[in-house]
């Protein structure tokens, strides 16, 4: 996608930022900073040009300096596929907030993981939903109509407090599930009236968090293929 960029536009942009004063170029980053402050996770899917800016170290430094009085700093995940804001220094209030947030995340973990499994199985994918994947509620409804087992799993999942669907209609349940995932930033709906969604890189963050909890708590969950597989070759 980014290769299609108009080279003229890119060089113009580079020229502007080279000549502009630091404050001036921060002005251009205003909307980006605002989205970060609002708690959004920015990635190549959710905002490609913002993400491109954030990959530049100087821009990151600038934003960090700007955020300093707000006690926030720019943070990213292991792969650097998603950016968000973290506390710069952790006071009692921040720790309190983080504890609550962590508890919420842990509570939403199982429904989210089950959703990932459901997507993989229902759509016959090789792996769980990954950033950039396109998901359409219509695909799910046709699969679930043909398959009673999937239908029941979706019904259970939609009724989970995290998704909170009250309906017994398949379409309404799907709508609610997609809506909640969009609200939580795992999905992006490019057109408000078109029913297709893009998976954002916040899913990478979720997976990193799962792996982190597994490692910290020494859970018996293995993500490596059994070594026997290689020796078969």
């Amino acid at each position: 996608m980014s290769q299609d960029m108009n080279p003229q536009a890119e060089s113009d942009e580079a020229m502007i930022s080279a000549h502009a004063s630091p404050e001036r170029s921060l002005v251009a980053l205003g909307p980006l900073v605002e989205r970060l402050l609002a708690g959004e996770f920015l990635c190549a899917v959710s905002d490609e040009s913002a993400f491109r800016h954030l990959q530049d170290e100087r821009t990151r430094e600038q934003i960090d300096a700007y955020l300093r009085p707000l006690n926030r700093r720019l943070a990213t995940n292991h792969e650097g596929s998603v950016y968000f804001l973290a506390w710069r220094t952790l006071d009692e209030g921040a720790r309190e907030q983080l504890s609550r947030q962590l508890a919420d995340t842990v509570n939403s973990l199982l429904p989210l993981l089950e959703w990932l499994q459901l997507v993989q199985e229902a759509l016959g994918r090789d792996g769980p939903a990954a950033p950039g994947d396109v998901l359409k509620p219509a695909d799910f409804s046709s699969r679930c109509e043909d398959h009673q087992g999937l239908r029941e799993r979706l019904e259970r999942l939609a009724g989970d407090p995290f998704f909170g669907s009250q309906s017994d209609q398949l379409d309404a349940q799907l709508k609610q599930v997609f809506k909640r995932l969009r609200e939580h930033g795992y999905l992006l709906q490019p057109h408000p009236d078109r029913q297709y969604y893009l998976v954002t890189a916040k899913i990478d963050y979720l997976i990193d968090l799962v792996r982190f909890i597994r490692d910290e708590e020494n859970l018996p969950v293995d993500d490596q293929a059994p070594s026997g597989q290689e020796s078969l070759l």
Binding site: L98, S99, D222
Partner: protein, 412 residues
């Protein structure tokens, strides 16, 4: 002299070749059945037909008791024609081709030195064909690799199989690159000597083509490695998701440690609370007032609602309402004052005189205060339309307190 028998040989080869190629078309269905299954079904084939197919080495019989199978080359040909990636072979046997090219160059030279023009031509043709074959084998192999890559190894359905297929493809790339490395252009340059035709074929032409193959192979190799990383990531994620979901289902009461209480909070759980950068309409910046006015005009008109019937309230709110009403009356009176200033053109009007003329009931101080407040409350551009001069005096020689006795307002 030697021309005639060679011509005979050639025409005999062509006749037989045409006959045997026709066999492929004639028995296409039986052959494709053999491609799809283990053996070629014999039901539809007569003994003569079977014998012809065996003689043409299109079919072969691995052992006397067993069934008849497709010859490996035919199987390869079909896989190649169908771009059937699960069965397409990648084989660029460079060492043997090089061996053959060396001997062809030798006999080409001998023919040239002996003045056997026709044989020389034949050797050159064979050489050209060998070079084309070598090129074709690399091009086919690269095509097959790209197809597998771009199709995400879609010809196998399970991720484990895709990973194995990718590993196999990467090994093929290594073999192909090894094959390319066998071609030593210094040796070829020496081999062709000063012969222009050979030089063009074996040095400049071949070098250009092989460079392209090399670049393609390197690129496809890089992409294969990337795809493999993606496969591995998918595999590991899928296992992690399934494993963790299983664990959480089995242990509904599981609570991880509170990482936020640690001395060193892990980076991953440090997510700051959302902040909303709020903004509201402000009138202290003159250039904005125009835009705001426009916005105001564009606001949808509230639907007419019937006056709410209010029950009689307590006394205190009524008093508030009374104060508000009086303040409103004062405001309106001051507005009329400004309008009269406009009516009188450039002539200045004293606020106090106006009050007296109109026999207004407001106290002097309140009146002056409201006139000044109204002026200050005007939009900047309307303010500029008036000139407000205050008649004032210093309250005492010891400080800077000034008393306003009257204000005169006139059009600017």
């Amino acid at each position: 002299m030697s021309d005639a028998p060679s011509h005979d040989l050639e025409s005999r080869l062509i006749t037989t070749g045409v006959e045997r190629l026709a066999l492929l078309g004639k028995h296409a269905e039986a052959l494709m059945a053999g491609y799809a299954r283990d053996e070629v079904p014999l039901e539809g084939l007569s003994t003569t037909a079977l014998n012809r197919l065996l003689a043409a080495r299109i079919l072969w019989r691995p052992d006397e008791q067993g069934g008849v199978k497709l010859a490996p080359k035919v199987r390869e040909l079909i896989a190649e024609m169908l771009a059937d990636e699960s069965r397409r072979h990648v084989n660029a046997d460079v060492a043997e081709t090089l061996e053959l090219m060396r001997s062809l160059v030798q006999s080409y030279r001998e023919a040239r030195d002996g003045g056997e023009y026709w044989r020389q031509e034949q050797q050159l043709l064979r050489l050209r064909q060998e070079v084309d074959d070598l090129n074709g084998r690399f091009a086919d192999a690269i095509d097959s690799l790209w197809r597998r890559l771009n199709g995400d190894f879609g010809f196998v359905s399970r991720l484990g199989d895709k990973i194995r297929e990718n590993e196999r493809a990467q090994k093929q790339i290594v073999r192909l690159l090894d094959g390319l490395a066998l071609i030593d252009f210094d040796e070829l340059i020496e081999l062709v000597g000063s012969d222009g035709a050979l030089r063009k074929l074996l040095v400049s032409g071949l070098q250009q083509q092989l460079t392209q193959h090399y670049t393609s192979l390197r690129e496809v190799q890089r992409r294969m490695v990337e795809l493999m990383a993606r496969f591995r990531q998918q595999q590991s994620r899928s296992r992690l998701v399934a494993g963790m979901a299983g664990f959480l289902r089995e242990h509904p009461g599981f609570v991880p440690g509170n990482y936020a209480r640690r001395g060193e909070v892990p980076a991953l759980v440090n997510r700051a609370t959302p902040l909303v950068a709020a903004g509201a309409a402000a009138l202290d910046h003159h250039p904005d007032s125009r835009a705001l006015t426009e916005l105001l005009h564009r606001l949808p008109r509230p639907a007419q609602r019937p006056e709410p019937v209010t029950a009689a309230g307590a006394a205190a709110p009524q008093e508030d309402a009374l104060v508000a009403a009086r303040h409103q009356a004062l405001k309106e009176e001051v507005e009329r004052f400004y309008l009269s200033v406009v009516d009188r053109g450039g002539e200045g009007v004293s606020a106090l005189e106006y009050r007296q003329e109109g026999a207004l009931e407001w106290g002097e101080e309140i009146w002056l205060f409201q006139v000044i407040a109204e002026f200050q409350g005007l939009p900047r551009n309307e303010q500029r339309a008036f000139r407000l001069s205050q008649q004032e005096s210093q309250a005492s020689p010891y400080n800077h307190l000034r008393l306003i006795h009257d204000v005169v307002v006139q059009l600017a």
